[in-house]
Symmetry: C2
Subunit: 464 residues, 2 copies
């Protein structure tokens, strides 16, 4: 049985320490390829740590390819030797693999992935099996560039029922993730256009625009909307926003300002990219209608994804284009193959058509509401509750925790990391100069389970 002394552990979390020890033993050859690792439970007992700690360490090792799991028989050491020797750049290889992985924390409050235990595997598996056994012929016909009709029809029906968006399926484009669709939209509108992004905002969006040769200009986001004066002055042609739930502030743009944004787009003959990424999870209050649904001028490109509502690991997103642009797409970019597997497109179409998606969303809303409430309660009953303020907790899967502290945001993050908690601060999401003393933590709670909520809150308060 593997035995490690945890006394050598320094700043690392239990999980991280265990992960590192096993990894070292694999790299040094003490654990050999094919060797079976102890079961999570028995290792946990042996080391007097929780099963969850072992599980997290194992998951990380699996994700990085050091070990693999085999159904009903457990975890085994992967052939790491081959991997090391196959490459010329030996060491750097493995290191770089590791750098791209994430998640070795007790609680990761920066991750906005979906709750692990809540993907409807059984239903999905049944529908996939059904699809594969019944639709053999159609499944091998290449999907139209925009995605199969059945899926676009299902999405159109869903949008009509739940978001008040009335759109014909021929204006929908299905693609492998919103990141891919951003690239397509840049190709469609042109690199010569000036794209405006919210500041603060989701940093990845800026990187995608840059990588696609269309670096964005940044417009200050204030309270609940981008600054309209700054927008007019920016000379932008296209504005990329998330009016229903701004990331990271959580702001919701009120209806009046939505009309002002539309009138900006109309005046300059530009476009608004409405990124509605987690609108399914408005947990209380009445939803504000999407810009797309109140746009009479064909100025809004609506984008949404199944990453938040289903799982980010099936890569299915979609864009709703104004008429004019959907025709332009077919004319200029219709040569592209659809990037989503027909198998999964068909399965998802059935999943939506048969009401499974709606049911799933309801279940998830309940789950996330419970998570949020448990977390808020934990925070509120804490003796030092007077030192924090909770903001924008009603929609989407994150809120802001403002704390009274003398620490800088960087110090906050370092301390949290030492406690095994990964956090990000509002200041991380500014493109320009960052005020490093806002003390606003962005709390993504969707991946926080009942088990670690209390511990996470306890540790959070410890650092302030």
């Amino acid at each position: 049985m593997l035995t490690y002394s945890f006394s050598e552990r320094k700043g690392e979390s239990l999980y991280e320490y265990l992960y590192s020890r096993i990894k070292e033993d694999i790299l040094s050859g003490r654990l050999k390829a094919g060797e079976k690792l102890p079961s999570k439970r028995s290792l946990a007992e042996n080391l007097s740590i929780s099963t969850i700690t072992v599980e997290t360490a194992y998951s990380q090792l699996v994700a990085e390819g050091y070990i693999y799991s085999r159904a009903r028989s457990g975890f085994f050491v992967a052939e790491i030797g081959e991997r090391l020797s196959a490459a010329t750049g030996k060491k750097s290889t493995v290191i770089s693999e590791i750098c791209t992985e994430e998640g070795r924390y007790v609680a990761d409050l920066t991750a906005n992935y979906t709750a692990k235990e809540s993907f409807p595997f059984l239903t999905w598996s049944r529908l996939m099996r059904e699809t594969l056994s019944e639709q053999c012929e159609e499944l091998l016909i290449s999907s139209p560039s925009q995605g199969i009709y059945e899926l676009r029809k299902a999405i159109a029906d869903y949008l009509f029922q739940f978001r008040g968006i009335s759109v014909s399926p021929d204006r929908i484009i299905v693609g492998a993730g919103t990141e891919y669709l951003y690239g397509i939209i840049i190709q469609l509108l042109g690199r010569d256009k000036r794209y405006a992004l919210e500041d603060p905002g989701y940093g990845k969006i800026g990187r995608i625009y840059s990588a696609n040769g269309a670096p964005g200009v940044h417009i200050p986001y204030e309270k609940d909307c981008v600054d309209l004066d700054a927008l007019y002055k920016s000379g932008a042609d296209v504005l990329h926003i998330s009016p229903s739930h701004h990331f990271p502030t959580g702001g919701v743009t009120p209806i009046g300002k939505r009309y002002e944004l539309l009138s900006w787009a109309k005046k300059i003959n530009g476009y608004i990219i409405e990124d509605d990424y987690d609108s399914e999870f408005r947990l209380s209050g009445r939803p504000v209608p999407p810009l797309q649904s109140i746009d009479s001028e064909g100025r809004v490109i609506y984008i949404n994804t199944f990453s938040k509502s289903l799982t980010p690991t099936i890569r299915i997103s979609y864009a709703v284009l104004p008429c004019e642009l959907s025709e332009k797409y077919r004319r200029e970019l219709g040569f592209y193959s659809c990037t989503v597997s027909t198998f999964e497109q068909t399965t998802l179409a059935r999943f939506i058509e048969r009401g499974c998606f709606e049911k799933h969303l309801n279940r998830m809303r309940t789950l996330y509401r419970a998570r949020r409430d448990a977390l808020l309660q934990c925070i509120k009953k804490h003796p030092h509750y007077d030192r924090v303020k909770i903001k924008e907790a009603d929609s989407g899967l994150h809120f802001i925790l403002e704390i009274a502290t003398d620490l800088s945001d960087s110090e906050l993050k370092i301390r949290a990391k030492e406690k095994g908690i990964k956090i990000s601060c509002l200041s991380d999401y500014y493109y320009g100069e960052k005020a490093d003393s806002q003390h606003k933590i962005v709390i993504n709670y969707s991946s926080l389970s009942e088990k670690n909520t209390e511990e996470a809150v306890e540790r959070l308060f410890e650092i302030i």
Copy 2:
């Protein structure tokens, strides 16, 4: 029972005619939403046409969303009314849907999709089910940007065994189709580079480079390689080629010229993108080693896809990057999410690991060889065989049929279309001026079934 008089049929094929009549009846409301269509067999009997004709018409209608199929109960009329009324741009909607679809021919010799009946649905379905039931937890962890390790490892092992390419998994990038990967490579190498493309070549590649803001320069392809002098003079930094099976000529670049290409890349410090799209289907003779496997300078980006070898409808391709570029990828583009579903990545990894992929390839090689042989035999035993020449029939899934005729290539294509045969000519694939009198038909035979081979050949000879 639906009854149509085929006497009104003009230039259309039987299939196309039937398709149009049913579509009209749906659009006019004579066939109502939800109404069951007659079975393929009974409609075929009623109209005295072949079941295949009905099948093709139905497939097309399904693809376009006019009808849908339900397992074990048949075909039904879709709710087309909704679809028409949901859009503002009523008519154009449906028309544009139709324009993006393809394939209403008795034989489509331009299509290089995989044989419909030959996807291993049972095995795939079993592995997918297994994946979904066993790997629940890991499946919801976001795939690393480059793809999950298991799949990259499986691909690396496959490449080593079957293509003599030795590469560590960390240099592999999995993406949703080669088209997506071309875009990523442009982002990686930069839009300021000059990209050289083969002329003639696969037109889509040129369109993708242009859409990504890096329009290519065209280098004449002569016999079995791009013209090296022209390449040097072009000032290109990057050369995109398919040395193992050029499209559309079918040329295979011999080893000597491969070394010359590599030395070009070394001299100018540039890169070669080796698009090995159907190398699995060399049907006779010894394979020439891929450029990647003889590149000692890290100048080759190798790209391949499962579109040809498995099915284009699961979108999985991969690129093998030189060390330096794979590090650059992680540094500059590693923020991208992988575009392929983890479910399908995992399933494919198992499919390869367990030898199913190899078995499948062998089966497909046998099938395609039989198709090619049947087609060649049909051509050779035709009374007018003296009027044609067959070229480059040994590798990949297409060959060239040179015919003696006074017709221009455009006339050839129109006549073939009238006969229900879709063909393309070599002259279609030139970027610059096209010599419209080469009389070289590009025959993609992978989708040609036993049933329609004879008819297709008969019709082909009729037009010349």
